[in-house]
Amino acid sequence: MTTAPALGTPGMPGGPAVTDPTVTVTVDGHEVEVPVGATILEAAEKAGRRIPTLCHHPDLPDVGVCRICVVEVAGQRALQASCAYPITTPIEIRTYSRRVRQARQTIVDLMLAEHCGSCQTCGRNGNCELQDLAEEYGSDHFRFGHRTEPTRLFDTLGPSIRRDMNKCVHCLRCIRTCSELQGVGALGVIGRGDSTTMSPYLTLPISDVVCINCGQCINRCPTGALQEVDDTDDVWHAIEDPTKHVVIQTAPAPRAAMGEEFGLPPGTPVTWRLNSALHDIGFDKVFDTNFSADLTIIEEGTELLLRLYENLVLGDSSRPVPQFTSCSPGWVKFLEHHYPQLLPNMSSCKSPQQMFGALIKTWYAEREGIDPADVVSVSLMPCTAKKFESGRPEMTDSGHRDVDVALTTRELARMIREYGIHLPDLPERDFDDPFGTATGSGVIFGATGGVMEAALRTVVELVTGRKVEEIFDHADITPVRGFEETRYAEITLPDELGPVPAILDGKVPDWDWLKGATLKLAVVHGTANARKVLDDIVAGGRFSECHFIEFMACPGGCLGGGGQPIPTSVEIRKARAQAIYGEDAFYGETGRVRKSHENPAVLRLYEEFLTDGPCGHRSHHLLHTEYTPRGTYIATNGRGVGDGSNR
């Protein structure tokens, strides 16, 4: 078992420590020492001074445009934007002065003058950085007037994202998120002066450009200018309709973050309390998406083994390696737009959300004796792209729309609040049958590296016939965990492999061809990082030699998804990851199953329903899908622009 250093990770572990040169600055009379190149904002923080910010975001490179963070630098006529001022020489800073106070107040007044929106009807009411600033600076009237009539675009055409530019404060966070963090570049600045606005290419609606619906821009928008499409009304109507059987599946990442919406610190898991809340609200059944995550692992792991066999042993080049994971719909659309030539590398497995959807309206409805037309299948997802995914025309294999409504963490939190329950006070409750028991492997899908780790737990056991715990302590495959942009790992299989297990009977003759083989694996999160890895693959670099690569569109994986509570930062995402790995470990400590292929409900499904096994005929029909090349600049669906097929 060896690992190689990650691409883009500065410094190798164990290497000599580099001491950065430092510089001493004076902040409000206190001397602090900071690394050369640190910003005034960082120095002030070190000195215990809080400077207000708006365009600054810890995940993004600074642009210094809102100017709310201005401070005095001794010897300079103009104030300086502390977020964007790198310190290279000893300087003297004053974070507060008459000029600073007046400037900040005026800037807030100007933002309010430009702003058109009313807090009472805004999805960000109570969690809005503009509101906070207005409060902090004691704005008690609109000194420079304010807009009452919308003059800017309000784009409601997208499947996932609503953009109300009347509420935009021009912080450019969305643009930096989309270009620098996500490498998509769906948004840019158009116009000048007073008519400057953020816009997709050619002022097209967001649904008609290369936007992958990841929602990362929403997570970093300080105001209500960017919000998810709100589908909660559809769910209320279904719940209130006595003829409907309303079920919900909940994914692990929202459960690790939902507590934040109710004032709990990041990283407080609320999985079991959430089950009670969902029943209270009126859902008929609450299922765990981990069930279909386990299913995905079996299908995707099987596909991987078959693909390797067909490609490496039978020489079938139509089954290219590496295989890419396909559970992140933002990532899927990214590949469809930008690297359509690599679509054959994408696993044909549907995401866990969609697999579950297809099974609920077939196997489950049949078992329960309910007409699938009366089933309303809802999902709780960390992700805005799941809304787009659930509406894809490919996702109707059950004969119905497989998933009717994909809710984000934020939307469901609103529903719970609206119902009048305080989530932290609720008792714990288990998931409902017949999908009840899930495994820890499904849980870790919520973190970057989780799909890879879950798949490895299963693949290693399938081919070695040995317990994965014998190879990795507690079945924790730590080399694929972490938050580095890209992780690369190698796993060398033993020379002795087991027999082909029953579940794969007839699909491969033996494992002889894998004896002593080294599996090369990579884990990538954030589509900007995906772009680097894909370029490397196209150029025939070292990632082209991988066998299996996990890609997640969002930084941190699903736990950093675009539908998660706002705000977000590396610290918050790490705390959520702890909640997720904690839940996985809990499965181990309580003697529950941690490996997908041991999930009894999944095994029952293969016995009762998917009787020709993983990647068999029925599974192919219900659980697998196809992909569509789309345009590189504007969204085409092989069918033309603006035909609604992207919405």
């Binding site: 600074d62 642009v63 210094g64 445009v65 809102c66 100017r67 709310i68 201005v70 006529r77 103009a78 104030l79 934007a81 964007a84 001022y85 790198p86 290279t88 000029r99 007046q102 400037a103 005026t106 800037i107 100007l110 933002m111 003058a113 430009e114 000194r143 420079f144 007037g145 404060v169 021009h170 450019l172 600045v189 116009g191 000048r192 002066g193 007073d194 008519s195 400057t196």
Partner: protein, 396 residues
């Protein structure tokens, strides 16, 4: 636009400055410019020799540095760079070449205002002639120094005259000013040390090398050395380009152009300041009334608030829209001026406008927003009674 006074620059012999420079070590060229005391002719007035010295000393990992000539001349009321580019392009390019030698750069870029596209052909021809004559290209005049110049055409944004926006534009992005530090001399075009100078600055640099630092330093005042080209326009009989030693009084300039009865002069263009006639003894110099070259004379019959409204409208349109004080501030100033003129502004609102102007001056990201309230504020300061007269009696 006519040239109204003899131009010293027209008397500088071709190649003289360049040959003198190549005979010196690069540091000596920088030292010569420093000794001349010349400050930038584009408006900000940074000492040119210091700028060149910083760029020469800044670490350049692959040895690449750039010399950029700012020929974006977009300040309303400024047209002296156009005259230089059409009449003395050789001298401008010679100055750039000297700059390249001084800072150790092989690449010159001339960023030409989009509206000056009609000059492009002649400028390209001039560059071609210079290459043929061995004044550009490999091994300039047999000195072993390589230098060439390319021309990049802007597309009409005033803000692209701001040096960091200019660099963004050169790199193919929206022309939006960058944060400083780092300054272009340390990290400019593609992150390389870059000197950006005005057209006129380069022309004088060539002249200084030809005639000597002393010659230049003895013209003008102690802190504002050398002659300066001024673009004089507005309510005058003889608009055009004038040369005066720095330190000249505004009165002398206005009178030379035949603006006898003037009520005020807007010195420095839209980004400048309004000087009332009673202050015409003030000097055009970096230490007193500074200008990139524009003197707009305002006749006695004009409504100054109308002038202010006109100029504010310019900034509303030319703001790049990046930062809050300038993007929103300019439109609020414009609205304020309109309401003032319509007799709808209260005294308190006027004070708010002045406060807004002060914030724009110190909190905007670049010089555009920082200078945008100047004319209005100077009018309110110098014509207080007239301005307050617009405020309805009950709202004073």
């Amino acid at each position: 636009m006519s040239v109204r006074t003899p131009m010293t620059l027209a008397t500088i012999e071709a190649e003289q400055g360049l040959r003198a420079a190549l005979a010196l070590a690069p540091e000596e060229v920088v030292a010569t410019i420093k000794e001349s005391g010349m400050k930038g002719r584009g408006g900000a007035g940074f000492p040119t020799g210091v700028k060149w010295g910083l760029a020469a000393e800044a670490p350049a990992p692959d040895g690449v540095r750039y010399v950029v000539c700012n020929a974006d001349e977009g300040e309303p009321g400024t047209f002296k760079d156009r005259v230089l580019l059409s009449e003395l392009p050789d001298l401008v390019f010679e100055g750039m070449t000297i700059g390249g030698y001084a800072i150790g750069s092989a690449h010159g870029i001339c960023y030409l205002r989009g509206e000056y596209v009609y000059l492009l052909e002649d400028l390209e021809a001039c560059l071609a002639r210079r290459r043929e004559a061995g004044l550009l290209g490999r091994d300039v005049l047999g000195s072993g120094f390589d230098f060439d110049i390319e021309i990049h055409l802007g597309s009409g944004a005033y803000v692209c005259g701001e040096e960091t926006a200019l660099i963004e534009s050169l790199e193919g992005r929206r022309g939006e000013p960058r944060n400083r530090p780092p300054f272009p001399v340390v990290s400019g075009f593609h992150g390389a040390p870059t000197v950006v100078n005005n057209v006129e600055t380069f022309a004088w640099a060539a002249a200084i090398l030809a005639r000597g630092a002393d010659w230049f330093a003895h013209i003008g005042t102690d802190r504002s050395t050398g002659p300066k080209l001024l673009s004089v326009s507005g309510d005058v009989e003889r608009p055009g380009v004038y040369e005066f030693p720095l330190g000249v009084s505004i009165r002398e300039v206005v009178e030379a152009a035949g603006g006898g009865e003037a009520k005020a002069a807007i010195v420095g263009g839209a980004a400048g300041t309004c000087v009332p006639a009673r202050d015409f003894d003030r000097a055009i110099s970096y230490e007193d009334v500074s200008t990139g070259g524009a003197v707009i004379v305002v006749g006695p019959w004009r409504d100054l608030l109308e002038v202010a409204e006109n100029l504010q409208w310019f900034f509303v349109n030319e703001s790049c829209g990046q930062c809050t004080p300038c993007r929103v501030g300019n439109i609020k100033l414009l609205e304020g001026i309109r309401r003032l003129r319509a007799g709808e502004l209260s005294r308190r609102e006027l004070d708010d406008l002045v406060g807004l102007g002060h914030t724009m001056q110190i909190a905007s990201k670049c010089g555009l927003g920082q200078a945008a309230p100047n004319v209005l504020l100077s009018i309110i300061e110098h014509y207080r009674a007239e301005v307050l007269g617009h405020i309805p009696v009950g709202a004073r």
